[in-house]
């Protein structure tokens, strides 16, 4: 499938030329989207339309030739303007800012696919290839695409299985049968696994508070998680609940506050720091269960990114957030499904780095978190508004059978 943009100007409405062109596109088995149309106010004023035509490469070429006869021309195809970055970490003015959609850039007359779609980055061209580069990683002399004329963005591909994936089309809603949604998410995870895709889990501390860490640990142990991204809070409370049976001082099994429990997480962090790392604490037998334990045992990579309000933090927490985002980027190739479990900060950070093609499920009790992710540009995210502890338990039961 390819997309080409054509332009037609003149008295195209009264002369039925626009209607003729649109009919010709459909007759050729192609599809169109009018990206810009200006209709003249009076019969004297010309009208103009920009039309994106999509179709099989075999049909598109002859169609465009035919449309040219009717005065519709391909928009000028120019090569990308490339300007070298003058300093490390600084882009040329007018740099092309990327979307998270699959894109191509025109270099020396050919469309070069962008290797790693990510939003809000620059496009850097090297001989025969183009890649997104976050601003801070641009080096002086890198050839950066300036302007958007020579970049084409592909509309998000339709889900392979429309029936099953139909629910992706609807808005986030709290009024959906949760068991059905859970079963469908499980189906997507199985499908990704069969394709050899990786699964990314982003987890917030509420997973532990709501009693979901045992089930998340089961999923890690059973190989359903390929990479974990979280913050100091999630890892701390996961370890706290395992070592002391509380999460933020509240008994995970009984739901009541324990005496002196407010300091439990600090004590746990201190113990892990004494051992130097979470892995060392697991080795020493200090941590004997939970999600972090499962990750260490299974060799599942985890990235813990810190924030200013962190206690401790745990020795594994990366306090340089730029380095943490880079570490996350390294893990993204191959990821096909992302589960955002009750996390705002880390979910949005992950959404920023993910290509639009990654199926993303955002599970949160708060609808605003889910919409926020979409508002930041991760339109592929499907929101499920529910208690995350219940969701993780149902998901684990669906994939692994009841515990």
């Amino acid at each position: 499938m390819g997309t080409e943009t054509i332009e037609v100007t003149g008295h195209i409405v009264d002369s039925l030329l626009l209607a003729k062109i649109l009919d010709a596109i459909l007759d050729a088995g192609c599809d169109y989207e009018i990206s810009d149309v200006r209709i003249g106010k009076t019969s004297l004023d010309p009208s103009s339309a920009r039309i994106a035509v999509t179709g099989d490469d075999g049909a598109l070429g002859p169609l465009l030739d035919e449309l040219q006869v009717h005065g519709a021309n391909r928009t000028a195809q120019v090569d990308a303007r490339l300007e070298p970055a003058e300093r490390d970490g600084v882009l040329p003015a007018g740099f092309y800012s990327t979307t998270n959609l699959a894109s191509d850039v025109r270099v020396d007359g050919t469309w070069v696919p962008v290797g790693n779609p990510e939003m809000d980055c620059a496009l850097v061209v090297v001989p025969g290839a183009a890649r997104t580069v976050p601003m801070h990683r641009v080096r002086a002399g890198d050839l950066v695409v300036v302007g958007s004329d020579a970049v084409r963005v592909h509309a998000p591909a339709r889900a392979r299985d429309t029936q099953v994936f139909e629910f992706m089309a609807s808005e986030v809603s709290s009024e959906k049968p949760k068991a059905v949604l859970v079963a469908q998410v499980a189906g997507r995870l199985r499908a990704a696994r069969e394709r050899g895709g990786r699964i990314l889990v982003v987890a917030g501390p509420a997973v532990v508070h709501t009693g979901g860490s045992t089930d998340l640990a089961r999923l890690v142990e059973a190989g359903w998680v390929d990479v974990l991204f979280a913050g100091n809070g999630f890892a701390t409370h996961d370890i706290e609940s395992n070592v002391l049976g509380t999460s933020l001082g509240v008994s995970v099994s009984e739901g009541v506050a324990t005496e002196g429990g407010h300091a439990n997480h600090i004590r746990v962090i201190n113990e892990v720091r004494r051992h130097g790392s979470i892995a060392a604490a697991v080795e020493a037998g200090i941590v004997s269960g939970g999600v972090m334990h499962a990750c260490v045992r299974k060799g599942v990579p985890f990235i813990l990114a810190g924030s200013i309000r962190d206690d401790g933090p745990l020795p594994d927490v990366m306090t340089d957030v730029v380095a943490a985002a880079d570490a996350l980027r390294k893990e993204i190739p191959g990821v096909e499904v992302a589960l955002m479990l009750a996390s705002t900060l880390h979910a949005i950070a992950t959404g920023n780095c993910l290509p639009a093609g990654v199926e993303t499920f955002c599970i949160d009790i708060n609808q605003a978190v889910v919409t926020k992710l979409a508002d930041r540009g991760s339109h592929q995210a499907l929101g499920i508004v529910t208690d995350v502890g219940l969701f993780v338990r149902q998901l684990a039961d669906e994939l692994l059978g009841p515990r």
Binding site: G10, D14, L17
Partner: protein, 288 residues
């Protein structure tokens, strides 16, 4: 019934056929083995001029040139709009040399010459004729596909300041718009819909309240390639039904055989160019 008037066509450019002949083949009517009889051609051409004068038109003559035999078809010189002249940009190399001759003639006679872009073909009044509905704004119908580009309509609208509606021509035998369309007055026109695609038919249907619709055979007689001088229609052929209808509308029908020119695919209209067309009001009045 009385015929209305076009408001133009009273001052006509013609070019004597001293060098005319079928020297190349660029439409299905041209066959190089067909021999044009020069004396007969001159005689027919003169009779046409006389018929136009008799109808009340002033005929202006331009000097023929040996190297451009088709200069005789002045309809293809370009488009006149008041004091503005847009020379044709010919698709066939055989005719491209005509452009410079026409540019010089019109420039010398006081017209302001505006040019189409170099990559845009358009064959002047042969492929574009105005229609002014009663009480409405003049619209230029512009044929495209065989000789002119659809995109020329956009350029022409810009240059002329009047709406230009492109109509796709689909019958190679009716390769110019003026073989399919002949405006008669503010309500009527002779139309040959078999020469247009379905969209073009709808465009003309919406524009012309009372069309005289030709059958395919009637259209191929070239009867739409007629010259209208007020209430007189000078026709290269007059199918009986067409003649009766025109007379019923109050037009005087004058048949003027130009068979020698039909050998090259041209009729009465092709041999003439109205110099008094005003498509959109312009500041300066047309050159006298």
């Amino acid at each position: 019934m009385t015929a209305g008037t076009l408001g133009w066509g009273r001052r006509i450019l013609m070019c004597p056929p001293r060098h005319f002949g079928v020297l190349y083949e660029i439409n299905p009517w041209m066959q190089r083995e067909v021999v044009v009889e020069p004396d007969k051609a001159v005689e027919q051409w003169e009779r046409l001029g006389a018929a136009l004068r008799a109808a009340g038109a002033e005929v202006v003559e331009m000097e023929p040139r040996a190297e451009v035999p088709d200069l005789v078809f002045t309809a293809n010189a370009g488009l006149v709009n008041g004091d503005q002249f847009i020379p044709s940009h010919f698709r066939h190399p055989e005719r491209q040399a005509e452009t410079q001759v026409n540019v010089e003639w019109f420039g010398r006679h006081g017209w302001q010459v505006d040019r189409l872009p170099d990559d845009t073909d358009h064959e002047g009044a042969g492929d574009a004729l105005p229609f002014t509905p009663e009480g409405g704004r003049t619209v230029l119908l512009s044929g495209y596909s065989f000789r002119s580009d659809a995109g020329a309509a956009t350029e022409l609208a810009d240059l002329l300041g009047c709406p230009v509606r492109p109509v796709q021509l689909v019958d190679p035998r009716l390769y110019h718009l003026d073989l399919t369309f002949c405006p008669l007055d503010g309500r009527r026109a002779i139309v040959a819909p078999t020469g247009w695609d379905t969209y073009g038919r709808k465009v003309v249907e919406a524009l012309v309240p009372e069309p005289l619709v030709l059958t395919e055979d009637e259209a191929l007689s070239f009867c739409a390639n007629s010259v209208v001088v007020d209430g007189t229609v000078v026709m290269p052929a007059t199918p009986a039904r067409v003649g009766r209808q025109l007379e019923a509308w109050g037009f005087e029908v004058v048949e003027c055989r130009v068979d020698e020119f039909l050998k090259a695919g041209g009729g009465c209209r092709c041999l003439t160019l109205a110099l008094d067309v005003e498509l959109a009001k312009r500041a300066v009045s047309p050159p006298g």
